[in-house]
Amino acid sequence: MSNAAQQFLEAAGTITRNLRHRGLIQTALRKYEVARDRKKSAFNDWSSARQSAAETKWDAINHLDTYLTEFTSKIEARGTKVHWCTTGPEARDTIRGIIKDAKAKCVVKSKAMTAEEIHLNEALEKDGFEVVESDLGEFIVQLRKEPPYHIVFPAMHLTRDEISDLFERELGSAPTREPEELTMIARRALRRKYIQADVGITGANFAIAETGMVSITENEGNARLTAALPRVMVTLLGIEKILPKLEDLALFLPLLATAGAGQTVTGYNTLYGGPRQPGESDGPIEWHVVLLDNRRTELLADPEQRDALHCIRCGACLNVCPIFRNVGGHTYGTTYSGPVGSVITPHLRGLQEWKHLSNASSLCGACTEACPVKIDLHHHLLQNRRNAVGDSPSWIERLAWRAHAFAVNTPALYQFGQEVARIVEPLRLRLQGTPLDPVKSWTRTRDLPPVAPESFKEWWRNRR
């Protein structure tokens, strides 16, 4: 078992017994479902909206080469510097270079999961730069020195009291239970940083090929300040963020807001087309767009699972996933948690190390049903399981499944097995609750039904 798998099992074992966590997450996500369903009903036809979005993304991903060059040539024409980065370290080094060239000390950053993916903050802090997260949720988890809990709601696992305590400890603020007051405390701390910062780093929600623009959606206005105030702006995005046309946003912005947060449309939606142009009075002097591959092209090369690149990181699959709702975001130990994380992490970080996430699913399919761009998520988990076995089968498991096949395919043996189970049932019951119980993974929390005195097939035979 890989280290990651071991850690997952341990963390899951602890958190699933934490009833306070369970209650907090279930309540929050049930509220999300109510809001999402209300906003879904504003679409004339939600299922055709999903179909249309899936087709647009299919086109974008299957013609990524064309669209990426269209995007970059348009955006470069307005003076933007584009950096193509194959790996995480390459992207990190590129961004470090930009910050050093700008002779920056303080960096302000809006929400970007790609930055989490390449561990950008750690790298920059190691170099001595101060990096401040400007998204409220990200600001909170940064103060707690922990990764985001959820790709859209980074601090959803915390109560107002916990946030108040944290602010009191870290920022010296007075305790409060009012969300508005908590927001103001963070805002006062952050506004100073926007003014001080020399470089602003953002992520991106969409990259429009047709016009060479980056679309960023947010609810706090922090990404706008991050982009507008510092001298230098850096935007880090995965190459899969491409949309062919500007008009595609007419569907994708409400789709993302609805699926992701149960909103009609996100609070602030901004398009960036280049750095400050001659005659303009504000905006960054320099804009660097860092395009990240980080093994996305390997996923692109897999025709079976290529649609996982459709992902718009809305988090809808996490929100409905009963596994996520019980183990929470941190248990996964990955940047991208929940169903989509379980699908893509093996591609991004190694199948054998991360295959346990594909096994840690009941394959219920709620994720696939919720996905606004129709990624066949739960079937991809099945394919990951098959691929993991194909690459590196466990001979013990293979032997066990052969034995199982032989037993169920041989009626005499199958009946003999039932008979044995009936005979050993009293002994099994005596062993229940002891380490010798052969089915303790079941019986630790659940009763096991005994083999009936007369099986269906015995009844069927006797009846005739």
């Binding site: 899951a12 074992g13 699933t16 017994r17 369970r22 279930q26 049930r30 009963p322 596994i323 709702r325 019980n326 183990v327 096994n359 840690a360 699913s361 009941s362 394959l363 219920c364 399919g365 709620a366 696939t368 099945l382 399981r385 098959r386 691929n387 993991a388 076995v389 194909g390 089968p393 498991e397 293979r398 499944w401 052969r402 199982h404 096949a405 032989f406 169920v408 395919n409 009626p411 199958y414 039932q418 089915v439 993974s441 079941w442 630790r444 929390t445 659940r446 009763d447 039904p449 005994p450 083999v451 009936a452 007369e454 099986s455 269906f456 097939k457 015995e458 009844w459 069927w460 035979r461």
Partner: protein
Amino acid sequence: MNVTLFIPCFVDSCFPQVGMHMVRILERLGHRVTCPEAVACCGQPAFNSGYWDEARIVAGKTLHHLQEAEAVVIASGSCGAMLKVFYPQLYAGRPEEAAAQRLSEHTWEFSDFLVSKLGVTDLGARFPGKVTFHDGCHGLRELGIKSGPRKLLEKVRDLELIEMGDAETCCGFGGTFAAKFPMISTAMGEVKCASAADTGAEYMVSNDSSCLMHLQGLLSRQGKPLKTLHLAQILDSQ
């Protein structure tokens, strides 16, 4: 109609009454029921574990015995999904592909067979009690079965159907998942049982005995009064 009943291994062993009720119901409706004894398992456990070669050893035998059937009726949405949805994938590009496709088209989960194929919703059953219905995920999302079981339950005399919150949320069984990740499976089951209990129902009913095996196991262990029943047991009650 000649109905070939497929009783999956765990139903055969642990819940034989579910199969017996199905036989009685189908015969009462005038169908000739057969049950090939050689068929025991659909092969889903190995398939879901990634061992597709081993799954084909089991599925091959099932396919061989069922491929000529006029209608295969199966006592579990999950095993039904294996035959209907996953056999064609398991045999894609192989000589058995056409047979798997044919079997897929002729396979019905029990409640779906009654409602969609036969057009029957009133079986003359009577069951005094409050019930809530749990949608098994494979039946719901792979086979699209949602309204059928409810139509059947609505026609049962003296039965009060109360929908639970999160009826479509997975119970946490998930086959080998229940044994590989028992702590997650248990937490999911507890959430499900709480939703069902909140309705005030006396019985949690489903068309999948595998979900019910897990849920009843939890309820019994925790000494909860809620009981689980397979849909066929209700439909054969007088």
